[in-house]
Symmetry: C2
Subunit: 565 residues, 2 copies
Amino acid sequence: MNDKKRIIVIGASACGAKAASRIKRLRPDYAVTILDQGQYISYAACGIPYYLSGKVRDLDDLLKTTYGRIRDVQYFKDLKDITIHTNVRVLDIDRSARRVGATNMSTGESLSFEYDTLVLAAGASPKMPPIPGSNLKGVYHLTRMEDAAAIAQEIHDHVHGSAVIVGGGFIGVEAAEALILKKWNVTLLERESQLFPGMLDFEISALIQEHFYENRVDSEFNAEIISFEGEEGKINKVITKNNEYRADIVIVATGLRPNTAIAEAAGLALGDTRALKVNALMQTSDPAIYAGGDMVENKHIITGKPCYIPLGSTANKHGRVIADNICGMNSKFPGIQGTFVCKAFEYNVGSTGITETQAKQMGLDAFALSVCGFDKAHYYPDSQIMALKIIFENGTHRLLGLQAVGKGDVARRIDVAATAMRLDATLQDIIYLDMAYAPPFSPALDVFVTALNVAENVNSGILKPITVMEAKRLLDHEDAVLMVDVRSDLEFRRAHVEHPKVINIPLDELHQKIDELPRDKKIICTCQLGLRGFSAQRILDAAGFPDVCTLEGGLFLWPWKEDMI
Amino acid sequence: MNDKKRIIVIGASACGAKAASRIKRLRPDYAVTILDQGQYISYAACGIPYYLSGKVRDLDDLLKTTYGRIRDVQYFKDLKDITIHTNVRVLDIDRSARRVGATNMSTGESLSFEYDTLVLAAGASPKMPPIPGSNLKGVYHLTRMEDAAAIAQEIHDHVHGSAVIVGGGFIGVEAAEALILKKWNVTLLERESQLFPGMLDFEISALIQEHFYENRVDSEFNAEIISFEGEEGKINKVITKNNEYRADIVIVATGLRPNTAIAEAAGLALGDTRALKVNALMQTSDPAIYAGGDMVENKHIITGKPCYIPLGSTANKHGRVIADNICGMNSKFPGIQGTFVCKAFEYNVGSTGITETQAKQMGLDAFALSVCGFDKAHYYPDSQIMALKIIFENGTHRLLGLQAVGKGDVARRIDVAATAMRLDATLQDIIYLDMAYAPPFSPALDVFVTALNVAENVNSGILKPITVMEAKRLLDHEDAVLMVDVRSDLEFRRAHVEHPKVINIPLDELHQKIDELPRDKKIICTCQLGLRGFSAQRILDAAGFPDVCTLEGGLFLWPWKEDMI
C-alpha cells in the first residue's frame, strides 16, 4: 500500500507553482506532480510588457528566482522535489477513479496520472474578439513567453514601426507604454469611451488619457473594429468604422476567459461569472479537487458578489490557501476587492473597491468625492499633484472605493484604502489616521487623510461639492450659472476654463467685490486644487448667497483640456 | 454687546495656523487673532534639512503655499481674514478674565487680548543637554528658520567643513544626510547604542547604521560628550569620553520639550509626560482653552497610555479637531500610533505602533518576526530588498507594530500597517490583504503580505525562526550549534558569515548530504532572504532532526557586516 499522498497539479503558473511548493514545505513526504501544457513554467507573465520596453533586459529574467536561478523542471526537482511534466495537455478528469488523462504534445504519448487530491490551476486564455483577419501573422496577445519573444523580434525588425493595441485595460496600457519607449507609433483602440473601462470612473481615467496624448499615444474610443487587413498573411492595417491605421503588429488585450473546459466536462460547477466556482477553502464542487488562479471566480468583499478578476497576486494567495487545506490546515480565502495599480508612462493609476459607476449600477446609496493634493511636501523636489476619488456609502459612511491617479505614490494610498476596506472601516474610523509623514514622502496631512477630511466636510454640510461633469453640464446648458475662479490673476491668465460664464475674482478680493456677484445664479467656486474654492464658498455662504458650491478637486481635475486657454 | 466670538490662538505654526484657518472656514463671522513670538509664521520646519542639502532651493519655499504665495501676516489677513501679531511674547493667561497678557518684543509695548475661547499651540523647544560650551557660536538646533539661515551661511563659508551632530533621531539623521550632500565631514554622536533609539529595534536600526558608513557618516554610539570647545567664542571641537572631533558647527537634535510654562503658570493640568494634558476634544483642564501640537501629549492607540511624540502631521490634525469643537461640531482626536518615516540617503526607514523592545518593557506577551523581501517584482529595474519587522500579540494575534527599512517604498508598508492597527486588525484579518500589484510597485505577494504569511507559518509551528541576535549569541557562545547556509556555492563564496560553525550545503544538495549533518546539534538554516532556509528546515524536520530553525530575514539582516567575508 502506498500511503504517500499523491497530489496532481494542473498548471505551473502562479497558483499551481505556489500550491505545489507550499505543499512540499508543509508535507515534504507528499508526492507532488505538476502537468503543464507549455514549454515555460512559473514565468512572470506580468513582466512581459517590461521586457518589451527594454526595462527588463533578458526574457530569462522573467524565469529567474530572486537569486538568479532559472525556474525550470530541474529547479523544481532539485530544490523542491516537485516533478513537472511540460508539454502535457490534460484531456479529461475521471473523478470517480481520481485519474487525469493527458497527452504528451511532443511525443503524442497518452498519459494517465492518479491523484488523491487534484489542484486545478489551468489559468485563462486571452479573448479574441470576432474580427476578420484575427488569424493574420502579426496579431498577438501578450500573455505568454512566446508572445514576448515574437513581439520583441518584431520590434527589432521594424524601426519606428506601427502598432495597434486593442483594449484599454492595464495590459493594453502597459503595452502602449512599452512600444512608445521603443519609438514605435502606437494607436490604442478601445470599444468603450475611456481607458480602464469598468475599472475607473470617467473623469479619473481622463487624466491618464491626457497623459497618453502627451506621450503621443493615438487613441480611438468607442472604436468599432471592422477588420484586420494584411498582405501575404501578415497584418498591415486595422480598419475601424471611422478610421484606418497602419499596423506592423496588433496586440489584442481585451480580457481573459477562464480555461474551464476540462473542469466543466468533468462536471465541476461553474459560477455566475462562468469561471470555476470554489468555496472559501478553494475547493470545487468535488471536495477532492481544489482550484485557484485565473480559472476561478472570487467573492468581491465590497459587493459580496462573485466576480471574475484574474490577477497574479490573487493566484499566489489561492495557491497558499489550497496547499494549507490539502495539508490539513484550515485556511480560508476571504475574497478580493478588485485592487489594482498600473504604471502608464510617468503616471501611476490604481483603484480598490468599487467605482461610483459600479456603486450606482448596484443601486447602492453612495456618495463620491474627488480631491487633489500633493504626493509629498509641496516644496520638496519632484512633488506631484495626485487626484483621489473616494466613495462612501451614505448613512453608514462605510468606505466603498478609492481611485487614484498621478505621478506620485499612488500605490500607497490605494493600499491604505484597501486595508481600511478589508477591515470595514467607516469614514469616522480613519479620519485621523496616523500615516507616515516626512517631507520626501507626504505632506503633513497625507492626501488620503485630506480626502477623508474633505469627505467629512461634505457630510457635515459645510462643503457643497460639484463634480467637473456636472459643472460642465451647467456651464453648457444652464443660464443661471456663474463659475468664479478665485485663483490669482497670474494663475488665471496662465490657463483657465474659457467660457462666458467664467470670471476671475482672486480670493483676497472676494470680500470687496462680493456685491458684483449675482444672488440669483448658482455660483461655482473654483481654484487649482479645491481649498481656496472652498474658502470662497464659505465666504459667500456667510454673506447669504443662496446657491454656492465648490468644484471638487479644482481645475486640476478638469478633463476637457481643450476648454482651457 | 459684541456677539462676534473672539478666538485667540497662541502660536502660528502647524496646529495654530490650521485651527485658525479652519475656524474661519467654518465660521467666517468669528474674529480670529494669532499671537506668535517669532518673525516667521506657518513655516515648514520639517523642510529645513532639505533646504540645507539644497534639495529645496530657497528658504522662502518653506513659507509658500502650494500656489507660490508667501504665508505672511498679509496673506492670513487677505485670504483668511485672520489677524496675526508677530514678535509678540505671551506673558500670562488670566483665565477668570479670559485675557492674555503679552508684550511686543520689538517695541516693548504691553498688550492684552480678550478671548471667548483660547487655543494654545505654542509648540516645543529643542532640548539642550547640559554640556559645557553649549553657548558657543556655531552650536545650533534645527527647528527655526533662523537656524536654517545661519547653518546655510556656515555651509557657504566653509568648504568641506566639519559638523558634529548630537542625536541620532530623525532630525539628526536628516541633518547628517544634508551635510554629507554638501560635502562636509559629518560625525554623529548618539548617547544610546543605536540610531533611532526608542523608535526602532537594534537590528533594524543596524541596517541604517551600515548605510551611514557607506555614505561616510562617522558615528559614535554610547557617546558621552564631555564638552564643546571653541576659540574666540566659536565652536571648533567636540570632546567625548573616547574621542575628539573637529567641528565647524554642532547641531544638537536631542529631542523637544513642550512649551508649557505659561499654561502651567495659568494652572492648566500637565499630563504624565509633563506635556500639556488634553481630552479627546483637545480641551485642556479649562474648557475654554484648547491646546494642540507639539505642546500636548497624545494617547498612544496601541499602548493606551499617554505619550509625547511631537510631529507636524499630528499638529495639523489637532488644529482641525480644535476648530471643529470651537465651532460646535463634535470632533474627537483618537490618538496616535507613533508612525514615522525618514529618508536616510538611499534608505527609507519607518515604524508604526510599538517595537519589540517597547512591547517587552510593557510586559506585553508579544512575538516579533523579521522578514526580508523585494519592494517591486525582483526582475524589475531598481527593485530593492527591504526588511520588515512585524510584532504581534500572542494569543489575540493583534498587530502591535511594524518597522521597515530599505531602499524601496517603506512608507507604503508602514501606512498599511498603521491603517490595520488603527482598525484593531489581527493577523488573520489581513493575511490575504488585496494589495495593489504590478511589477513596478510590488512583487505578486507584497512584502508586507509575505511578512503576514511568514508570521502565520510561525504561529502554526511550521516555521521555527531564530533572530540574528540569538543566532549570533549561539554561534559565539554555544558548542552544539551548526549554521547551514543553503545558498548556492557561488552565493556562499561571494559573502558569508565566516565562523567555524558555519557550513555551506546548497539546498539542492541537502537531500544527498543529509547524513553528514549532526543530529545532536541545533541547526540554523540560513539563506539570503529566508525562504530557502525555511525549505531546508522543513526537509530536516521531516528527516527527524530534533532541533532545527530558520534564520529570520536571512543574511540580508545580519547586522555584523564585519563577520561577512
